[in-house]
Amino acid sequence: MDRETVKSRLTKVFRDVFDDDDIELKDGTTADDIEAWDSLEHITLISAVEKEFKMRFTMKEVSGMKNVGEMINIVAERAKK
């Protein structure tokens, strides 16, 4: 799946999870850029992304992802649909 498609679908998930329609994702976006994105909300976010792309992150990926760009890379490689 190409990165742009992933990014636009990911944007919708982020907007849902953080209840903020103004969120625009960039590769460099991190938890510091989105106020509500704390470790507890990270759980919801990961589950929602897994559901949207019908894939699963490994535990290492969940704790190791540094920014949205890395998340897009993993999803682009592994998303089932």
Partner: protein, 596 residues
């Protein structure tokens, strides 16, 4: 109720959009009943609390939470801490799971040693419950233990002294023993819940290792919904009525076209069996105090013909009200609610036709509508919704249908009299109005928490708080039972007044709407004044706090002859009555003339 939170819901979607859902619920949340809940967790509880809040707010309860630090459930419960003490919880939920079992049996451990472990494990829990009860006297909800994800010994995990599933099962039985012998203590059955959800899906080990959630994050909405059902039941927010369609809902076919012999009901055919099973399931709700009504587009005679089918489980006298006509269903539901003196929000509407369901949803949104495609699904939908979750049953519950039917007879009798006063006299009413008796506390609490219309202060009590009030000399309490020639209405009115020198402040005054316009409120007042005079109290101070539902009693104290003392911008009013020179107002009810 929000469609996103109504069954069958998409749990992952609820998790994903929980912030938005909370915002929406808070925006329209005025009039919700506040409730302080302490969540003492043995694993992560963050999202459990967030989702629980959604389901509670959706049903009119506005919770505030104390959340223990990670896995500090035991020390919080047993030793307490300042924050928790100051929070003063009205309800404590102990979120422990099989992961919190400290001493598991070892393979080949001898039976006595395992039994000792079992006792030690159980005693840790009992010590918590005792400490919480003594300190807060509040409702406790305790998870039981779910089955583990692996079975080292295979099937030998049960039926063997050192089997772990054997151990968990025995531990659960000890929890149930405690629950049976203690009031205000309820088991949250996650053992059932995880099995129904699917044990393998429930134990999402990644979520344990990553976040220390004792269950899959996707299962949290199921978990929270089930927990919310107990809370709603304790708070008296259960539904009260099942309003049922007939054709293709309670039997197969159309009675008007197919005739009594043509409809599918009974054990002869497989389709007939599945409708019979639904009828039996529905009928069993009467034992829980749920009222059954019919809401069907049919000629009345045809409806009765179907209900009199010899193989049917449900018959005309099982229903508190039968509306079989060609009016819009939502109008019939409204009319039924009026006749039974209940609010539409107490109703669950069951109809096989999606179009009819949709019309009721849009025209009468207070009514809860369930979705299903066939009788088996209908049973499952009703069962999973938990609208009638049982936390306590009083003798009145089982007799409730009978009481409502007697009301219908009274209404018919009323038409025969020239004046209303003459009608009241003809009812030969007797009231028993006395201080709370311990055996009546569950019913008093239940009535207190579910009365919305004839309720001056809408103050809610947990059973523990009610017991405390019942034991306190600082109060004058009355509960009233009304009997007439058509039957016993049970306990229908409750008054609690707080003594303050020569004054009595009315904390609570409520009455069941099924005895409206029967002089019962005056009988309660007569008895209250009598009790006040005996206790040398000179004045009674009454309070009216308006809600969306209690408009009918805005002028009650005025009718009672109280003088208004004050009113504020929100419509809250304060009233005063001197107890000297009071003339009793009851004319048609004989008070406290029975033997006991």
């Amino acid at each position: 109720m929000l469609p996103e939170l109504s069954r069958p819901f998409d749990g992952d979607m609820i998790m994903q959009t929980k912030r938005k859902l909370l915002r929406v619920l808070k925006e329209r949340g005025q009039g919700a009943v506040p409730l302080k809940i302490a969540v003492l967790g043995g694993s992560t509880t963050s999202d459990i609390i967030k989702i629980l809040e959604l389901f509670l707010r959706d049903r009119g309860i506005a919770p505030s939470f104390y959340e223990s630090e990670y896995a500090q459930y035991w020390s919080d419960a047993v030793f307490g801490n300042k924050e928790l003490d100051e929070f003063k919880p009205e309800l404590v939920f102990i979120h422990t799971t099989s992961r919190n079992i400290e001493e598991k049996p070892r393979v080949n451990e001898d039976a006595q040693s395992v039994a000792d472990k079992l006792s030690r494990e159980y005693e840790r829990y009992e010590r918590m419950w005792t400490a919480i009860s003594e300190k807060f006297g509040c409702v406790i909800i305790q998870n039981n233990f779910e089955l583990p994800s692996e079975r080292l010994l295979g099937n030998r995990e049960v039926g063997c002294a050192y089997g772990r599933i054997d151990f968990i099962t025995r531990l659960n039985c000890k929890l149930y023993d405690y629950a049976r012998s203690h009031k205000n203590f309820y088991i949250h059955d996650i053992n059932y819940l995880s099995a129904a959800y699917g044990l393998e899906r429930w134990h999402e080990l990644r979520h344990w290792h990553l976040y220390k959630y004792a269950m899959s994050v996707s299962a949290i909405p199921e978990f929270a919904y089930s927990l919310a059902n107990i809370v709603c039941s304790v708070m008296g927010r259960n539904k009260k009525v099942l309003a049922l369609d007939l054709d293709n809902t309670l039997w197969g076919g159309v009675i008007g076209d197919d005739g009594q012999s043509g409809i599918e009901i009974g054990s002869e055919t497989s389709e007939g069996q599945s409708f019979l099973r639904l009828q039996q399931y529905v009928k069993a709700h009467k034992e829980l105090g749920v009222l059954l009504t019919v809401c069907s587009k049919n000629d009345h005679e045809n409806a009765l013909e179907g209900l009199n089918h010899p193989d049917a489980a449900l018959h005309p006298d099982d229903f508190a009200c039968i509306k079989a006509n060609w009016e819009e269903k939502w109008r019939n539901l409204e009319e039924t609610a009026r006749e039974l003196n209940l609010l539409p929000e107490s109703f669950v509407f069951v109809d096989d036709n999606p179009a009819e369901r949709e019309i009721v949803r849009t025209q009468l949104p207070e009514v809860t509508v369930i979705d299903f495609d066939n009788p088996e699904e209908c049973i499952r939908a009703l069962d999973k919704c938990g609208f009638f979750e049982v936390t306590s049953l009083s003798a009145d519950d089982a007799a409730r249908s009978e009481m409502y039917r007697a009301n219908a007879e009274r209404a018919a009798a009323e038409k025969k009299f020239a004046s209303y006063g003459e009608f009241l006299q003809s009812l030969e009413m007797r009231a028993d109005i006395r201080d709370f008796d311990p055996v009546h506390i569950p019913r008093i609490t239940q009535l207190t928490n579910k009365s919305n219309q004839f309720n001056l202060t809408t103050k809610r009590y947990t059973q523990a708080e009610m017991e405390a009030a019942a034991a306190d000399d600082g109060y004058i309490r009355l509960c009233g039972r009304l009997v007439d020639k058509f039957g016993d209405n049970g306990i229908v009115s409750v008054v609690i007044g707080r003594k303050d020198g020569k004054s009595l402040h009315i904390d609570l005054w409520l009455m069941s709407c099924r005895v409206l316009k029967r002089e019962m409120e005056f009988a309660m007042l007569d008895r209250l004044v009598e009790e006040c005079q005996r206790a040398c109290i000179d004045e009674i101070i009454g309070y009216y706090y308006p809600t969306k539902k209690n408009g009918m009693v805005a002028k009650l104290y005025e009718e009672f002859g109280f003088a208004q003392v004050s009113a504020d911008a929100a419509g809250n009013t304060v009233w005063r009555l001197e107890t000297a020179n009071y003339t009793p107002k009851t004319t048609a009810i004989k008070i406290n003339e029975s033997e006991n």
